[in-house]
Symmetry: C2
Subunit: 192 residues, 2 copies
């Protein structure tokens, strides 16, 4: 997590992920109310309602206005709609996974399929795992450099004897490209 944006999003969801708090928001959508009034309507003790309201205030969905010697709570409709609007954008969700270790699975597969010499003990039959292996081996090719088929095979041979399969899969998965018919290969750089 770590991310400010995402923490706010989490507080937002936590605030609304409880039945009585949803009801409180529904009541405040009609009119401003004091703790005592909400407590009577929901048949809860004022201390309980106070606790619920603290979640809503912390999420910025509700504000308290002192009036004479009690507090009147008010729904911040704009804050709520702002959050909802933010949910409609794709970047918001991707940011939630900002600090996740995206390569952890690949490393796990590599660890299982390579011996102490760094060579592949075998080629995975599973699609997922083959992809992880391919993303690993493709790193021996420099972006922007052209390689002959012989050079490609030499480099792939460091990992496994079946260089033909590796080469074909690399092209099929779009990690490398080949000039039509000729012997020129190069690494494709992903846009991620």
């Amino acid at each position: 997590m770590e991310n400010d944006q995402t923490l706010a999003l989490l507080d937002f969801f936590k605030a609304l992920a409880e039945p009585n708090r949803l009801k409180i928001v529904g009541l405040l959508a009609r009119e401003d109310l004091a703790v005592e009034q909400i407590a009577a309507m929901l048949n809860l003790r004022p201390s309980t309602v106070s606790n619920h309201l603290s979640y809503l205030v912390h999420a910025g969905l509700v504000s308290a206005r002192p009036q004479s010697y009690y507090n009147v709570y008010h729904l911040e409709v704009t804050a709520l709609q702002e959050m909802a609007r933010r949910l409609l954008s794709h970047e918001t969700l991707q940011a939630a996974a900002a600090d996740v270790d995206l390569d952890a699975y690949d490393r796990q597969v590599i660890r299982n399929y390579t011996g102490p010499d760094g060579r592949l003990k075998q080629l995975p039959s599973q699609f997922k795992k083959m992809q992880a292996v391919l993303r690993y081996v493709v790193q021996v090719f420099e972006p922007g450099v052209r390689y002959s088929e012989k050079e490609v095979n030499e480099r792939l041979a460091r990992f496994h004897d079946d260089t033909a399969t590796l080469r074909r899969e690399l092209v099929e998965q779009g990690l490398m490209a080949r000039e039509g018919g000729g012997g020129q290969y190069w690494r494709v750089v992903s846009e991620d």
Copy 2:
């Protein structure tokens, strides 16, 4: 609660109100993933991830597609945006408080201020409570009927001797209206 719409809303919030589940959604926003992959990325056991995914599936935010002999999970972006859009409408929130006892607070105030004879022991000084009392006493007037000031006082006297204050407050709070200067009063019907 009881309400289908609201229950779905609650499941939606519950599904997203947990840090690791938010991260899973963020990961699935990039690409479809299998349980094992997610588990490696988040450094959690597959059983834990499976549990989290069941919440997301139940909320309709994620779907599972069997592929060879494992499951590939997919983010239902449209379902998520549909929920977000629903949040932007006011009716959705009001529906959350559909089955709440809106008059519970008023009854509580009336109970505290009336004696066994049904008369008011005193008039509340607090604004909130006075409003509750006024909503109570105004019910002795029929909607659509016009009353002289004398008739108004007679009816209010059933509740308290200070009929002048009650009459003035009823008009001030918009619960009754008076014809300019003349002695004609009538009950105002609220739109709620």
